[in-house]
């Protein structure tokens, strides 16, 4: 649905985005991550047709952006990072303007629907120049989905939202993803696990990872490990049986202690091997590194 090939954007001497290639299909929610200044917003701005790439091509639903910008823009719902609004319009007027600009036959009806979806009833008649930051985000989100586009580009959609609204919007994004291709840029890593089916991490304009959350974990040494709960006195026997060191994590169930070991082997395999050596294993599971460790590892620049 979304195809970006060799996207590059230069601002004078700065290369903000450098030869970025990816595709996103319908049904996917792509989490777009990266440190500040990595080029996330610049990439989304190019995909939305606001900035013209210095090199590379963009195609949405098979239509090339350069060849048919208007046809492409009809298919995109874009929420800019800066959540811009026309101050002299009320929230409802703003949504109506966006709806009409998309050529919706029943713009008024759609406005009411998205006001409902994004919980905007309270500020419906308020001038957008005076609404709070969270409402600005939600109003921009509502404007992005008003024409029910097959492609959604959301630049930090949950920035400034209260915890309830964050959850609400995440759920909404997940629901919407059934028949849409969605790219969400964010800095909140738990959010990525909650709603994204795939992750791209950019650093200094280039893609450093394209995969799932578990792929990300696997990138750190020891990012994927196993946790075993055995009796403390069996520790050295277990180390000999498995051929690797166990590091204590704390007390476990039934007088056992939990140990971590760095391995890619499946936990069930590990407990079977322990059983062969006559060591009782109360618990065996995967240990998952916090995503932010993996993130830090990948985006560490040569300082």
């Amino acid at each position: 649905m979304i195809q970006a090939a060799g996207l590059t954007k230069k601002f004078g001497p700065i290369t903000a985005v450098n030869n970025v290639t990816f595709t996103v299909s319908t049904g996917e929610v792509l989490g777009f991550l990266g440190p500040n200044g990595a080029g996330k917003s610049t990439t989304l701005r190019m995909l939305a047709g606001y900035l013209r790439p210095s090199a590379g091509t963009i195609a949405i639903d098979g239509i090339d952006m350069a060849a048919g910008p208007i046809a492409v823009k009809k298919k995109i719902g874009y929420m800019p990072e800066t959540t811009p609004l026309y101050r002299e319009m009320t929230s409802r007027e703003y949504l109506l303007f966006v709806g009409e600009a998309h050529g919706l036959a029943d713009a008024e009806g759609r406005v009411e629907q998205v006001i409902e979806t994004a919980n905007l009833a309270a500020i419906r008649h308020q001038l957008t120049g005076t609404i709070s930051k969270g409402y600005r985000s939600r109003l921009n989100f509502a404007a992005a989905i008003i024409h029910d586009p097959p492609v959604l580009l959301l630049d930090e959609p949950t920035d400034g939202l209260d915890p309830n609204q964050k959850n609400e919007i995440r759920k909404l994004i997940k629901d919407l993803s059934r028949n849409k291709a969605i790219i969400v840029s964010t800095h909140i890593l738990e959010e990525v696990e909650a709603m994204c089916s795939r992750i791209i991490i950019v650093s200094e304009g280039s893609i450093v990872l394209d995969g799932t959350a578990n792929d990300l974990r696997r990138c750190v040494p020891g990012g994927r490990a196993a946790v075993l709960a055995i009796r403390p006195q069996d520790k050295s026997a277990a180390e000999r049986a498995l051929g690797c060191a166990l590091s204590p994590l704390g007390a476990g169930p039934a007088g056992c202690e939990r140990f971590r070991l760095n391995t890619d082997e499946r936990p069930a395999r590990l407990s079977a091997r322990l059983a062969e050596a006559g060591i009782a294993c109360e618990e065996a599971c995967c240990w998952e590194a916090p995503l932010d460790d993996a993130f830090r590892h990948l985006t560490r620049t040569t300082e």
Partner: protein
């Protein structure tokens, strides 16, 4: 609905809700009347015509039209709404046309609000209605030319003050060209080019019409100026998508 009509509607609503627009109309009317009656000694002149009224107009436009046009793009840039505008499926030519037309209609409304002076001349004497009609028509066209310059300079910067100053300078040059004031300094240029340059001045093209003569060339002249600066406006916006 046509994209340019959607933009036109949005912009017109902006004027209707904006206190600045009312201030502008008030200042325009006050100066227009002030110039005509006080500076121009309208009563003492004993003429049942609007010659005096029209002769001050270009100088009034010089400051007031850039003031209307300065926010057109600068504001979109500084508030970031240009990003919304550019990513909606409207097409930049339609947006430029819609914005220009809305402000041009606003100027028309302000111009029509000077009607009491027309009533006054008809009350005082029996003027020839021809020059009044053609004068108003051409005045609006000339206002469009000023406005197109202001649209262009507004697209150059997110700062409304800079946009204002730039368009006053450009419009001032266009006013001076008509008087041939540059002839002395530019006499190294070929005579043909000098004639062409002085032909580019706003005022001679306008004055014809205030005497009741509508010359098609004057109409084409102002329309070309408008189209030229709106194309420049589009080029500038195109350029900002590149960088």
């Amino acid at each position: 609905m046509q994209p340019s009509w959607i933009i036109l509607k949005k912009e017109l609503r902006g004027y209707a809700c904006s206190p600045l627009a009312f201030i502008f109309v008030t200042i325009f009317l006050a100066f227009q009347m002030g110039f005509t009656f006080i500076l121009g000694r309208f009563y003492e002149s004993n003429q049942a015509s609007l010659d005096i009224f029209f002769s001050f107009q270009p100088w009034l436009y010089l400051f007031l039209i850039p003031a209307i046009g300065m926010r057109l793009w600068s504001e979109e840039k500084s508030s970031g709404t240009i990003e919304t505008l550019a990513t909606l499926p409207l097409g930049m030519p339609a947006v430029i046309a819609g914005k220009f037309l809305a402000s041009w209609l606003f100027v028309l409304a302000a111009l029509l609000l000077t009607f009491p002076i027309v009533i006054t001349v008809f009350y005082l004497g029996s003027p020839d209605p021809g020059p009044i009609l053609t004068g108003y028509g051409m005045s609006w066209l000339m206002a469009g030319a000023f406005l197109a310059v202001a649209c262009f300079t507004s697209a150059l910067t997110r700062n409304q003050v800079i946009s204002f100053v730039l368009s006053v300078i450009i419009c001032f040059v266009f006013l001076l060209l008509g008087f041939g004031v540059f002839h002395e300094y530019l006499d190294f240029l070929p005579a043909g080019l000098l004639d062409f340059l002085s032909g580019l001045g706003f005022i001679p093209h306008f004055q014809q019409a205030t005497r009741g003569v509508i010359d098609l060339r004057d109409v084409i002249y102002f329309i070309s100026i408008i189209v030229f600066f709106l194309i420049l406006n589009a080029a500038v916006l195109e350029g900002s998508a590149e960088s």
